[in-house]
Symmetry: C2
Subunit: 311 residues, 2 copies
Amino acid sequence: MSETIHIYAPATVANVACGFDTLGFAIDRPGDEVFARFSQKPGLRISAMHGDGGKLPREIEKNTATVAAQAVMDHLAMQRGVEMEIHKGLPIGSGMGSSAASAVAGAMAINELMGRPLSRKELLPFALKGEAVASGGAIHADNVGPCLLGGMILVRSNQELDTVSIDTPSNLYAAVVLPDIEILTVAARAVMRKEIPMKDAVTQWGNLGAMIAGLMKADYGLISRSLVDVIAEPYRASLIPAFHEVKQAAVGMGALGCSISGAGPAIFALCEGDQMAFKVAMGMQRVFEHHKIACKRYVSAINVNGAQRLA
Amino acid sequence: MSETIHIYAPATVANVACGFDTLGFAIDRPGDEVFARFSQKPGLRISAMHGDGGKLPREIEKNTATVAAQAVMDHLAMQRGVEMEIHKGLPIGSGMGSSAASAVAGAMAINELMGRPLSRKELLPFALKGEAVASGGAIHADNVGPCLLGGMILVRSNQELDTVSIDTPSNLYAAVVLPDIEILTVAARAVMRKEIPMKDAVTQWGNLGAMIAGLMKADYGLISRSLVDVIAEPYRASLIPAFHEVKQAAVGMGALGCSISGAGPAIFALCEGDQMAFKVAMGMQRVFEHHKIACKRYVSAINVNGAQRLA
């Protein structure tokens, strides 16, 4: 009986306000799990899948976890067969990096099964290949990057897959709420402008540069002033009922800033301290409940470890 | 006989590749000097002006140094008269922050004359007011900021005048060459697009974020990969004969990166070490001379002090 590898890959917040398509961070929970073991049958197959409510494809060439796993297997020219059990802990289409987590877990599972021939960074292109099947081919590493590498990740270039780890203050916490509404990624992309005024672009990159400096200097005031999005949020906010009210509540209670997580509908707020983050998360949840929208909430430090092998 | 205040304000490189309208740094030389003393006559006047070849206005409401000085005098409700002697060491219309240097020197001279009631940061809006008269009213703090505050300055917001000092590696040097050609600021602005593709904007802010991280981590490789401008350089390069050849020479000799300083025609390269910077500066100069274009060159560490009171 061969060993079973057990991987946990956490949720991530991408498009961090001023960091559209470039900045993301990992949180502790929720996350996806993948169990992988060598099998007698050649090739890769999914032996079981749980937690997706039957929504995700079981075909290995369509499932994000197995596409990523297969890419690693091809790269390593693996001869032996592998069977994989996938536990979706992450809600699908939440804006919390669900496809990225499965892809990272799939790629890591194969790497661990083979005795870890590749580094985390070397797994990046394979995990991204997995995520790409779910996102219609577009490659943005701001979910896969932090899920795989942990912490706050700046993607210098999505084309060159150049990622930079950004130190964050130890007392920086995220409050994330997920309202029970559906946003199609297609719709979230469709509302975005293809061209933007130079003025808005300068505002956005001034804020992103300052956000990086604020994080590295542990300057909460600067982080707060930089947590502004003039590119995506003004257009995507209309897809989330009560967004402005939720944001107002978070900032009013003392959050450093608040914006849409990924393409939404999840909303994140960054906070100084865990108590503030708990308070802010509950306050945001209350606004949705007031509007009769069910809402999950999560509170987490910045997860500096990213995906982990649990067994 | 009252004391004479003597201020030196250095050249600055703005629009640092990926940091269009947001990132600038000070160098040691050249610079402008202002001498100021109380006078019997009320109000502000220019007693002498040197080094501008008669090109700059002598009217106090049009000269950048005196507009900035007057703004500080008004703010402090000064009753006594002041006379000011201006020595332009900085070439006009060079892209090396000539107007900013005069404005900073003018504002600082008044502040010193009054016993320094204002901090450097508090002088920022007054110096910018001076620079604005030369730039047709547009306010961008990426020259005035580093000239006044020293070092590498990120302007988070030009509207809010929110500036951030970015630590730089001690071995980071700039090579700057100034070819003897004229670019009208109007022309440099006219070639720029008012709207830019989202894709270019994401590329630019990914690079700016990474540049900030690279500087703060003293990661020369990352600084080098981030020194890319897809916004201004591709459009302004055509205004500088042989630009691409000069850049090619700089990068070929080992510069970390090379781009247009401000709106040009000066060109800067960032380098690891002073010897590399000297070599690169000479190499860039050689290209211009090969094209029969006279060219000055400057080599400097990042000037962390900015403007100084010399007497």
